[in-house]
């Protein structure tokens, strides 16, 4: 089959690889009909996530048709011919974490849990196409994928919704939604979202459906801010204005009640010397993550507010504003999305028209043009917001 692979730093390559095979009894093989490039794929390609290997199949946002099931898959849960969206964390459904609906912390799905434990203190779940630290599972930017614990994760789509309407249930819609849910949004809340990429846009939409009074989008790309504005959110361009002053203006001096970091470890910064400081430290591995968005969110949030982090962090960061966090009674909440927890309720919101995930799609390319898709997305060319690939 054809598959998009990691070919070293800053390089992806679509090549011929063997078709996936059943390796565990509860596996299924899915013929992929739609797949997408995620912002977190850029962290892999940019070389910020360790334990990638040449030839790793990328991709963790995919859906398709079940073409083969292992002998241990419960036929009441999944059969050949089912149309499914596959959640990016692999979860067994049987461990303590899964019982607590903390699917991205599944204790059984990562064969390389020992490495993850050394880096993070405790292991994390297996993820599709996301380094060997998270299991070494081949990803979904391919014609077919092997899906372990197939009777736990995949969501069956039984209505006539299009691929594009449901594809993002695999990751970015639940991720954005969890970012907003962690904020415990009240009807009087102003919610500020750092990053108007795909996850940020969905965090904004989710904050609105959860009842926020006002939602603010912070980014530097005019086309991304315009996209947020068209969806009813208030844009703030951090290259044009001082973010803190603007946020005070927009909130009567209080600061946003709830702040969401939808940027993560490769943030850019309006202040050139601070950006250079972190770029340098990251380059020489004195810190692994550039946390501008997180720092600014903590400093901007009103006292007693919530800072919710859904942007990806991989290792260690520097100059964490612990004083502001502690002295102003802020709550910091975070997590890789527990996608399985949100798929069904969010499918309901899509069916009822409360959320329209298709609004962020700007590019549709054949799988063979994945490398061009990565270029467009990474360099924000041609107003690229979200690339969907067709195998």
């Amino acid at each position: 089959m054809r598959a998009n692979t990691w070919a070293g730093r800053n390089k992806v390559e679509v090549r011929d690889v063997p078709d996936p095979k059943i390796l565990n009894k509860r596996d299924a093989i899915v013929r992929i009909t739609s797949t997408a490039i995620c912002g977190s794929d850029l962290h892999l390609v940019d070389g910020y996530v360790p334990t990638m290997q040449e030839g790793d199949v990328l991709g963790h946002e995919f859906m398709g048709e079940v073409v083969e099931v292992g002998p241990g898959v419960d036929p009441d849960r999944l059969r050949i011919g089912d149309r499914v969206v596959v959640p990016f964390p692999i979860a067994c459904g049987a461990c303590g974490a899964c019982a607590a609906e903390l699917y991205s912390c599944c204790e059984n799905s990562n064969p390389n849990a020992g490495i993850a434990e050394r880096m993070f203190g405790h292991p994390v779940a297996g993820l599709f196409g996301y380094s060997h630290l998270t299991g070494g599972f081949a990803g979904g930017q391919a014609q077919y994928a092997r899906v372990p614990f197939a009777d736990v994760g995949p969501l069956k789509i039984e209505s006539d919704l299009t691929d594009e309407q449901v594809l993002f249930l695999s990751d970015i819609l639940p991720t954005g939604y969890m970012g907003a849910e962690m904020c415990d949004i009240q009807s009087s809340d102003v919610v500020a979202v750092w990053g108007a990429g795909p996850v940020g846009q969905f965090a904004m939409d989710s904050a609105r459906v959860l009842g926020a009074a006002k939602v603010i989008a912070i980014d530097k790309e005019p086309y991304r801010l315009q996209m947020a504005e068209q969806a009813g959110h208030t844009p703030v361009n951090f290259e044009e204005v001082d973010v803190r002053s603007r946020l005070l203006e927009l909130t009567g001096g209080r600061g946003p009640d709830k702040c969401i970091d939808a940027v993560g470890l490769e943030a850019t910064h309006g202040s050139a010397h601070i950006a250079a400081y972190d770029r340098l430290k990251q380059a020489v591995r004195l810190e692994t993550d550039r946390p501008h968005a997180l720092r600014q969110a903590i400093l901007s949030c009103r006292s007693g507010g919530v800072v919710s982090v859904i942007g990806v962090y991989g290792g260690l960061l520097d100059k964490f504003p612990a004083g502001a966090w502690m002295n102003r009674s802020l709550t910091l909440r975070t997590g890789q999305c527990h996608v399985q927890r949100y798929m069904k309720p969010l499918l309901g919101r899509i069916e009822r028209g409360e959320l329209d995930p298709t609004r962020i799609i700007t590019h549709r390319l054949p799988l063979d043009e994945a490398a061009r898709g990565f270029e467009l997305f990474k360099n924000k060319q041609d107003n690229c917001e979200k690339v969907v690939l067709k195998p």
């Binding site: 078709d19 509860r26 059984n108 599972f137």
Partner: protein, 180 residues
Amino acid sequence: MELTATTTIRKPVPEVYAFWRHLENLPTFMAHLEEVRTTGDRTSHWVAGGPFGQNVEWDAEIVVETPDEKIVWRSIADADVPNTGTIRFMPAPDGVSTEVHVVLVYDIPGGVVGKAIAKYFGEEPHQQLDDDLRRLKQVVETGEVVRSDGAPWGKRARKEFPQRPAQPLSDSELVKGADE
């Protein structure tokens, strides 16, 4: 050399105890064990993969057996590497899970053999037991050891770093299996 490790398994104590007490199950998750065969009420014959691809074999007996609480065993006769093991089972505070606490003691001989054994266990011998218990948890909770494209060979995964790429196996790789 004394190794300790612990894990929590989301199954009731009698089930986890019974799984372990059926000693034939141990090689499904313990990386170094090839086979354990029951030879009597309390005696068993153990076969482990050793240094230089040679198997090491010994007999063992259970010396303490308290159902749903504790099993203690030790090698008997003239084992090359005399060893004892203790496993305790305790209900976890959540009311549904079992805490498993394992202590293994190996009496490693001196000389060339001892060095080879130490090398076989690697720089972090406790890591092997941690991984064994992780796989015990996988087998009891989900039915088998989880495999990925990068680590396709279950309990032999530890020998595979750096791993093969996270890319599906070819038919010949699949047939060849973990033997190479």
